[in-house]
């Protein structure tokens, strides 16, 4: 009995597909090669950086100033500069982005032309090359705002009308705004309609509902957006090239009108402008390693929070 069943089964399957499916195998093969290639590239890059940077990478490297014409010493001011940059950037971009996202998801009508225009702008902003932001920052913040402020408050004396950490941070915040808006929007959308209705049915106004129900439920989304923005801002160089980053400073910035050193920019100048590029190679790799650890760990935190939101939404 059993044999007959097996025979019919065999017949059934062999009728369905005769011979080897070469096309299918080929496609699967190509995708596998592509995936392996990507993983390999990533590991080669990481491997080289870790290998080359490992000797120089130390606590002392992170906490000391560069010395001997930046051929020795650490990257402390660049690290602190990067930190201040992302903090000021977040203070500017997070509230602005969150409010925009709240408008888009909560207040804008479905077929609103304004919302469509805002969404279009956000999407466009996200694909503008970062150097354009740098030029915009130079033109708008430094030459227009800064010079304007100097004329108005300092009698034309140069104070704000030059690159500094404030203008660099604001320029960077424009670059990271789309990241925040999209993340917060996504988080707001995961709050179920039932919860909004529950609140409204109790006589809450729309704003009370947003404040007490929608917003608390989106905190993690706002955090994800912030972290992603911070990690992006920590890694970008182009927007701060003309707006505030300095080649070398003997002291840390003391106010927002001071220039600052920055990790990404530090790597750039060490590898292109240094008096002895070969000699500073270990410093470059170690700095790159620090920057990578910084942005990768920030992204990891964002990914974890985001996956927790997704699970909650289900």
């Amino acid at each position: 009995m059993e044999t007959t069943i097996n025979e019919t089964e065999n017949q059934f399957f062999s009728n369905k597909k005769k011979g080897v499916d070469i096309k299918g195998k080929f496609v699967v093969g190509i995708t596998q090669v592509a995936v392996l290639l990507i993983i390999a590239i990533l590991f080669i890059i990481l491997g080289i950086i870790v290998y080359e940077g490992r000797e120089k990478f130390s606590w002392e490297f992170i906490t000391s100033f560069p010395t001997d014409g930046m051929t020795k010493g650490g990257i402390f001011p660049a690290l602190i500069g990067t930190f201040i940059l992302v903090v000021v950037m977040s203070i500017a971009a997070v509230p602005f982005g969150t409010i925009t996202a709240i408008y888009l998801t909560e207040y804008a009508k479905e077929n609103s032309k304004i919302a469509a225009a805002v969404r279009f702008s956000v999407r466009t902003l996200a694909v503008v090359p970062s150097i354009i932001f740098g030029l915009f920052g130079l033109g708008f913040f430094i030459q227009f705002m800064g010079t304007g402020m100097d004329k108005a408050f300092n009698g034309g004396e140069l104070h704000w009308g030059q690159p500094n950490i404030l203008w660099a941070s604001l320029t960077m915040s424009l670059l990271t705004l789309p990241v925040i808006i999209v993340s917060v929007e996504e988080a707001l959308k995961t709050i179920p309609r039932e919860l909004r209705e529950a609140s409204l049915a109790l006589g809450a106004t729309k704003w009370q509902t947003i404040k007490n129900v929608v917003f608390p439920g989106s905190i993690s989304g706002i955090m994800t957006g912030t972290i992603l923005a911070v990690s992006r801002g920590a890694g970008e160089v182009a927007p701060i090239l003309f707006t505030g980053a300095a080649y070398y400073l003997a002291t840390l910035p003391k106010s927002l009108s001071d220039q600052f050193m920055n990790l990404g920019y530090h790597i750039y100048i060490m590898s292109t402008q240094s008096s002895d590029v070969e000699k500073t190679m270990p410093i470059q790799f170690a700095t790159t390693l620090v920057l990578l650890i910084l942005t990768l760990s920030l992204n990891l935190v964002a990914v974890i929070i985001r996956s927790r939101i997704r699970r909650k939404a289900k």
Partner: protein
Amino acid sequence: MKNIKIEVKDLSLYYGEKKALKEISLEIPRNKVTALIGPSGCGKSTFLRCINRMNDLIPDVKITGQMLVEGIDIYDKNVDVVNIRKKIGMVFQKSNPFPKSIYENIAYGPKINGIKAKNELDEIVETSLRQAAIWDEVKDRLGDSAMGLSGGQQQRLCIARTLAVSPDIILMDEPASALDPISTSKIEELVHELKEQYTIIIVTHNMQQAARTSDYTAFFYLGELIEIGKTNAIFTKPEQKQTEDYITGRFG
């Protein structure tokens, strides 16, 4: 007139071009339970959501006619929808507690109404939970998340939450449809007790539930009100053929 709580006159509702409710006119008596029955898509839930203007939230909805609550047209321009919803509470089909503590769920409504004193809030929370017959089950864990309660408990919590803003009218949209038989009977008992103080309108798919819990029953079909009357009469001697077909299970 004294015993009429809600009077509906020629109420029609359009979703865009589609007319979902067709010239509904009916009266809902005070301190009674009125059941709205009818097959899916007949407009009974849509009608229920007209009573606390929940349909305002849906874009492209247009409503004509009058919805008089205590003689006041709630769709009048001068009427504040927020006040309407404070007076007309709603319990939803799917229990929807806030992801907050049991206490905070109940205190939510009073708080947005400006009650801040802790002792006052404590009292409202206890009274509401007692009224919703869930106090004994949760009194020792008011600080725990409401999400940890069972489905039936969550639904009674939602009823308590509605009671906490002391409405006159309670709208219930198939409040027991997702619950097991024991939880369902608890909700039904609750409905029975609450009608002493509140006017209750309940949408239900379950004919027995309508028969058990309500004093009046309205039958909706394809956006029209076919018939409304005392529940007894509707279930024993319906005037319309369609009503009879529906309650005897010939369709729907």
